[in-house]
């Protein structure tokens, strides 16, 4: 293991594993969020309460934060190192027909997603953790839980431009994942001539699920509520 993470391949392994971890998180996050579209918020409020109070989630939460930090930190280190490798650029560049736009712009796409993430955390997570959120009684009035549904629906119904930010954020994330998904497997070494085509297809499906899934939510409140 000597010096594995100081090598260029080792640094990419960190990107790959942290990326895969974040991709699993996105699926869980999307599943819970899609409950916003069910009924009048009872299901989502229960789900949000379960996620906020579950001890397993409490343990995962700091791990998730570390996952984000590592992914962003190593992306910055790798990008800075790679930029030094071509001091004089080409005066003319043409498309080779293979390289995707997302693959060339992962750092910029990731940066955009980070800006969105900060807005997103300020909108919801911060308020739920440290702010005043109206509560709602459930279980025949025996338990009081945060009315997370009202917090989310209130934002999306009252401010159309937040809906726009969330849709743009989801699309940027989708582009990021369209390369990130198969790229993570390639970096680990789980790829070959046959699987590369399959992984690319799965990557696009995954990216579309995430981008469309997260976009539906603000659009649902904007259009239907």
């Amino acid at each position: 293991m000597n010096g594995i993470f100081s090598s260029s391949i080792g640094k990419k392994l960190i990107m790959s594993i942290s990326g895969l971890f974040l991709m699993v998180f996105l699926l869980v996050h999307l599943t819970v969020n899609l409950m916003l579209l069910v009924g009048n918020g009872e299901v989502f409020n229960q789900a949000a309460h379960f996620m906020a109070t579950n001890p397993a989630i409490k343990i995962i939460e700091p791990v998730l934060a570390i996952g984000f930090i590592i992914h962003i930190l190593y992306a910055s280190i790798i990008t800075l190192q790679n930029r030094k490798t071509r001091p004089i650029g080409y005066s003319k560049t043409s498309s080779n027909g293979v390289t995707s736009w997302a693959s060339k712009n992962m750092y910029i796409l990731g940066g955009t997603v980070l800006v969105f993430l900060v807005i997103h955390i300020t909108n919801f997570y911060w308020k739920l953790k440290f702010g005043e959120v109206p509560s709602i009684s459930v279980n025949n009035g025996l338990t009081q839980i945060d009315d997370t549904y009202s917090l989310v629906s209130g934002l999306f119904i009252s401010y159309w431009w937040f809906d726009l930010i969330y849709v743009v954020g989801a699309i940027m994330l989708g582009f990021h994942l369209s390369h990130g998904f198969w790229s993570a497997f390639q970096t680990i070494g789980w790829n070959n001539k046959i699987w590369i085509k399959r992984l690319e297809v799965i990557a696009y499906i995954y990216a579309i699920i995430i981008a469309v899934g997260f976009s539906i939510i603000p659009l649902y409140f904007l259009i239907l509520k």
């Binding site: 293991m1 000597n2 594995i4 090598s7 260029s8 391949i9 080792g10 640094k11 990419k12 392994l13 790798i78 190192q81 790679n82 030094k84 490798t85 071509r86 001091p87 004089i88 650029g89 080409y90 005066s91 003319k92 560049t93 043409s94 080779n96 027909g97 293979v98 390289t99 995707s100 693959s103 060339k104 992962m106 390369h179 198969w182 790229s183 390639q186 970096t187 680990i188 070494g189 789980w190 790829n191 070959n192 001539k193 590369i196």
Partner: protein, 247 residues
Amino acid sequence: MNIKLKIWRQPNAKSKGRFETYSLTDVSSDMSFLEMLDYLNNNLIREGKEPVAFEHDCREGICGSCGIYINGRAHGPQHRTTTCELRMREFKDGNTITVEPWRAAAFPVIKDLIVDRSPLDKIMQSGGFVTINAGAAQDANSILVNKKNADEAFDSASCIGCGACVAACKNSSAMLFIASKITHLAQFPQGQVETHQRVKAMVAKMDELGFGGCTNTRACEAECPKGISISNIAKLNREFFVAKLKE
């Protein structure tokens, strides 16, 4: 056909280069790109000017020396073709063609279109070989190799070390080059013995010499004149992690 050429001119490694534009008339569409440059140089010599320096040797696509960045593509617009095999019929009459050397910190320009590709040799010297005496032809025939392995090794061994992968990669990474050597040698009993040592040494050398890391843009396989797949890089990564874990 008549063409215009915008060519990078740089007298030596230390001087600052610049583009010069040349007009060339009566270019045959059957000329190879290098023959067209020969034709230009004949004209320049006749005019008492310094001819354009470019590297070339076999002119049949197997030596790897003629790497030039043409119109924003390594080895020009045609897929799986070295510059020497590229014909002028790929361009249109009246075209302006931009001709640049490989650009990478690891490949400094020596003169005009010639770059120093010796860092690839240094990577090879660090481990791209087998230390045993592999014997003569009859010895090779006495060691049985699975057909699948032999085919894969042959695909990887078709790397000519031209450096197009480095030139086309936005990170100037030599990963496809190393990956093809690792994959080639790891397919044979003679090469397998030293795979772990080899992969560690070659990757360390690549990092040391100022090549970048791989971000899986696939530009290398798109521009490789031999069409070497990035599946070789996946194998390199596997071999590298296994080698590091076994340390």
